[in-house]
Amino acid sequence: MSGKPLAAIVSAGLSKFGRREGLYGRELFLEAAGEAFDRCPNLDPRRDIKGVFVGHMGESYEHQGHTGPTISDWLGLTPTQGFRFESACASSSAALRCAVMAIASGLLDIVLVGGVEKMTHRTTPEVTEYLAMASDFPFEQWHGLTFPGLFALMATAHMHKYGTTEEQLAMVAVKNHKNASMNPKAQFQKVITLEDALKSRVIAWPLKLFDCSPITDGASCAILVKPELAKKFTDTPIYIIGSGGATDRLGVYARDDITSLLSAKVASQEAYKMAGVEPKDIDVAEVHDCFTIAEVILYEDLGFCPKGYGGKFIEEGQTHIGGKIPVNTSGGLKAKGHPVGATGVAQVYEIYLQLTGQAGPRQVSGAEIALTHNMGGSGASAFVHIYRRGD
């Protein structure tokens, strides 16, 4: 049932997520890359790595752009080619998709892909302003919309059309905090109750504090090789068997259906088709829960449940570990944290752990096929990847 491997992931690394005082983004990246190198002793970075693909949303945070050569330099890999990819919160999934293209084309055979964002040294209003740059300036930002506000527009519409409730949204937060409590690298380590979530302060009605992902420092890294080389580096590779990318109208207001994420639908259909799998075949998924409503809509648009059923799907516990399709076992953006440029490959890191049986207490037993979905901004870009455990 599974498609041809496009690329193999032979190692991955992740920095601790959270408030990482005194570290600069490039230093955080070395923490993630160091883990990936330690896990892969057969890799000689200087000899083997033919390109560095880094997702990084904003130069405003650290007054630092030109991230491709910056990271390549700090990795000690100069003069290797280095690229920075920007697709807002999907930046490192854009890097991943292009790394897959580079490998599948035969142009490069071993690529380091990752992402980084250092955010917490800035004030919350500054971070809010930098993040908002991914939305439509003359019509969304100019009329007072924030990112929580944009997803709140989707929530209000979804609640009206399908009867989704604030309690169901809160259940997403409760689940993801519970999963994060089993992930030592997550920003939040504490479980929360439904009451905690429902009583938290309103940010953009109907969304409350616990419906929102936090501001986070972090970096992520994975080593991609052409499938034929995988066994040179590890006995337990995972294969990327599907890759999809799509866009949606930049402005939420301009979309035909505000209760749906078109980019997720189109990107996932492309990835499913390429992989030769269906939604029911997915054993574990990391999806872009920047806000709880996003996870609910994604259950629907990625095909895990029928349209309009997302609220009921979480209420029934179908996406908990042990449920029909565990979603965001890492804690997701919501509780693991959301260093925007790093998030896409951080999802890959969780899938790498799950498919190689290294996810500890949050392990989904027997996981073979996995999916990641990462979106930029309010969904104007999205990338979906499908993975298969190596033999």
């Binding site: 209003p125 809010t128 007072g144 919309l145 924030t146 009206h160 309103v202 940010i203 953009a204 505000i258």
Partner: protein, 138 residues
């Protein structure tokens, strides 16, 4: 499209807000497929034609969705909490905008009639010097 046929003023964000300053909500209409587009853009997003003309919207429509912003961007701090809605104008396009005088969700109902209102432009020294249009229940 030849240079002589170019639309005046050009179908841009800047032109849209100049019209707002005059109390007009303007869209462009595609002369090929008839689609009415707001905010305006130089190419029809229905059929990709560049043959467009300006049309004035009546300024009335239906509430599609809304949110009440409690944690605002810095420049909106003095207004919070405030409501932002998406309104589907009767001519077809959807536009976002702040709803005057609404701070509670029970003051609005999806599907209700809304109308556009204009206020004098704030004095801005730096780019962008755009006035805002607002919505209120009709």
């Amino acid at each position: 499209m030849s240079q002589q046929e170019a639309l005046t003023p050009p179908p841009t964000v800047e032109s849209f807000y100049k019209f707002v300053a005059e109390g007009k909500l303007m869209a462009v209409k595609c002369k090929k497929c008839g689609k009415i587009i707001a905010p305006p853009r130089p190419v029809c997003d229905g059929c990709l034609s560049r043959d467009l003309e300006w049309v004035q919207l009546k300024g009335e429509g239906e509430l599609v969705t809304f949110t009440i912003i409690h944690v605002p961007p810095v420049q909106f701090a003095s207004m919070a909490p405030y409501t932002v809605a998406v309104v589907k104008m009767d001519e077809g396009p959807k536009l976002p905008g702040i709803v005057k005088g609404v701070t509670q969700p029970d003051q609005l109902k999806i599907g209700m009639r809304m109308k556009v209102v204009f206020e004098p432009a704030p004095q801005q020294q730096t780019w962008p010097q755009w006035p805002r249009y607002y919505f209120e229940p009709a």
